[in-house]
Symmetry: C2
Subunit: 371 residues, 2 copies
């Protein structure tokens, strides 16, 4: 047997995996494209025309490395949020920042608390740091703040993850409840608050920015309401020493020049964002109506998607999803117990929701018939 380099022990124990299979892989396997791409909580409305124009102008400048300090974008975000430059770190989407936060604050064997069925990419990164994940069940389709807190205390967890609004359920907690949770946490437990869907949430769900709390890091992104999922640009907000720690391990040239330009332009066009928010709210209402028309149970959502119970168990919902995929409608669904009774559908363009409305009745009927 050939000898080979040994993988680091933490790595050696991990599987080779892709946390999310992309729609492109499904299209390759199917041999044909989807007609409606409403499964990945992308924004079919796209980025603002101004953002597109800036990216087009910037195409010829991509021979230059990016500014590793992300100075302009970081400054603009800080001004937008009325916090200091030192309270913001820009990264390769929230995924990239979650990878870094796990490396910074999770040592091998440390316990990290999250919800059962919450964002798998966070779990992937905790695994990569050798952390031990403890998963708390949702309660009434919301992340269970009391249960999370209890688990943190009982297990002496170094970190707890919460998305608010929540993915995959679309539910949310009001700001005062989030801050009561934060106040109750041990000061040594890092609270990672993922606000990827913050822009589409009611203002009352977003706590005032508090940059004096060393154990709170909030994450936001240009991937969702700003319509830039493909460009990889997100940011984290927090107390300055916690934010400075990212400099120890981040890929300094990792947020591309294009991403920084796109993010800066996106932030500058708040009128477009307001328009997208209106369209997302209308799309949610329409998705909920389509769901109800088909006997499904839509869950009220603060995100750019609607999760809907199919009126049966996980097997039934899986069939509904599969039937939609077979009819060229790309959607996804939660897989954890109880949540798995649902499918999850992103707000899309009108013609995409038309296709969904057209295909859902057959998808549901066929699923019920074969159950």
């Amino acid at each position: 047997m050939t000898l080979r380099p040994r993988q680091a022990p933490i790595i050696d124990a991990l599987p080779v995996t892709v946390p999310f299979v992309g729609p492109e892989a499904q299209e390759r396997a199917r041999g044909r494209p989807f007609r409606a791409r409403i499964g990945a909580n992308e924004s079919s409305f796209g980025p603002a025309p101004y953002v597109i124009a800036r990216m087009q102008e910037a195409a010829r400048d991509q021979w230059m490395y990016c500014d590793p300090e992300r100075y302009e974008l970081r400054t603009a975000i800080a001004q937008h949020l009325s916090v200091g430059y030192e309270n913001v770190v820009v990264g390769e989407g929230i995924d990239g920042l979650l990878g870094l936060v796990a490396r910074l604050f999770v040592a091998p064997g440390d316990t990290v608390v999250t919800s059962l069925g919450a964002y798998p990419t966070f779990n992937f990164h905790v695994d990569g740091s050798g952390g031990r994940l403890l998963k708390v069940a949702y309660r009434n389709d919301r992340e269970d703040l009391e249960g999370l807190l209890e688990a943190v205390r009982r297990e002496n967890a170094v970190m707890v993850y919460l998305s608010n609004p929540d993915n995959p359920m679309g539910t949310w907690w009001e700001a005062d409840e989030i801050m009561r949770f934060a106040d109750a946490l041990p000061e040594t437990t890092m609270f990672v608050l993922d606000e990827a869907y913050g822009e589409t949430a009611p203002a009352s769900a977003l706590p005032r920015i508090d940059i004096d709390r060393p154990n709170l890091i909030r994450m936001r992104t240009f991937s969702k309401a700003y319509g830039l999922a493909g460009i990889r640009c997100g940011y984290a907000i927090g107390e300055k020493e916690s934010i400075a720690a990212f400099e120890k391990v981040r890929n300094h040239y990792g947020t591309s020049r294009m991403a920084q330009i796109a993010g800066l332009a996106a932030l500058a066009d708040q009128a477009y964002l307001a328009e997208v928010k209106r369209r997302v709210a209308a799309g949610r209402q329409r998705l909920a109506a389509i769901a109800r028309d088909n006997g499904l149970s839509p869950i009220e959502s603060a995100t750019n998607f609607v999760t809907m119970g199919c009126g049966g168990d996980g097997a039934l919902a899986l069939k509904v999803m599969q039937n939609l995929l077979d009819r060229d409608v790309f959607i996804r669904k939660p897989m954890a117990p109880v949540l798995d009774r649902c499918i999850r559908v992103s707000v899309g363009l009108d013609h995409e929701l038309d296709i969904f409305a057209q295909e859902l009745p057959k998808a549901v009927a066929d699923a019920r018939a074969s159950s």
Copy 2:
């Protein structure tokens, strides 16, 4: 004192740092832009017009996440190199891939061998994995293959890094010498061969691609000759199990949709690459001539830059660089002993080299006068 989350022990020991200060930061500090940007080994020739056009078209599609499998680009690279799909991993530039390779194969306390004065970002990532760096001095301005091998054996190193052609000196080893080095390494030592400048090197410097060797990972990039430093796209080539390991920790959606499109387009335009290679070769000759005209000693280069001795010690070369910066010419210089007698100048557009030719005499004269 406020309690706060503890950083993981490896991280806690690290400084907050930026391995390379970018020219943008210098411009901010100076309060004015550089007239010639010939310090970061970027390609002033830019990407191919076809690549720019593809990026411009793709700007409006950036609302979609990228394909996490990077399927099309990975397939195209594999075909380009006549290797299997499973032998290629695409990442966020070589920097991103170096970060991953360090995480995969370096455990805390492991020894990693590199050259004293070689790529600091590699060292940064090894530090981030808790590795112990052992640095071998250059020999005659080349990385010292015998010295590196001896250090690997003596210290039982898990990894050795070599860039060929070399940055910051521009020198290179022929392929047969590289492979003799590879053959002599313990099979358990991972050889990371950074070929960022492979496209501008003589073909004789690039070993035949050998994807059967579990302890060899070669890295290439679209940042240099392809003119896409800002877009963050590089790749690694190796034996399939070593390549598969990247899936365990990489940020699957990290290589942006734009980067994948740009890389694919760049690879398709080999005629443009050939033209860039001609222009780089001509630029190197011109830089060498300018150096000699000023009593400097250019080192023969296989890269897109020329490193040149200033005829004195590190302090003199530092003054030359500073004088050039003061005259709005962005260059860099090696800092390690012996190498530090040099400045390093990237091939740029004709008008940038004109500026360099115009400012170098005064920069050198002033440096000598003040020594």
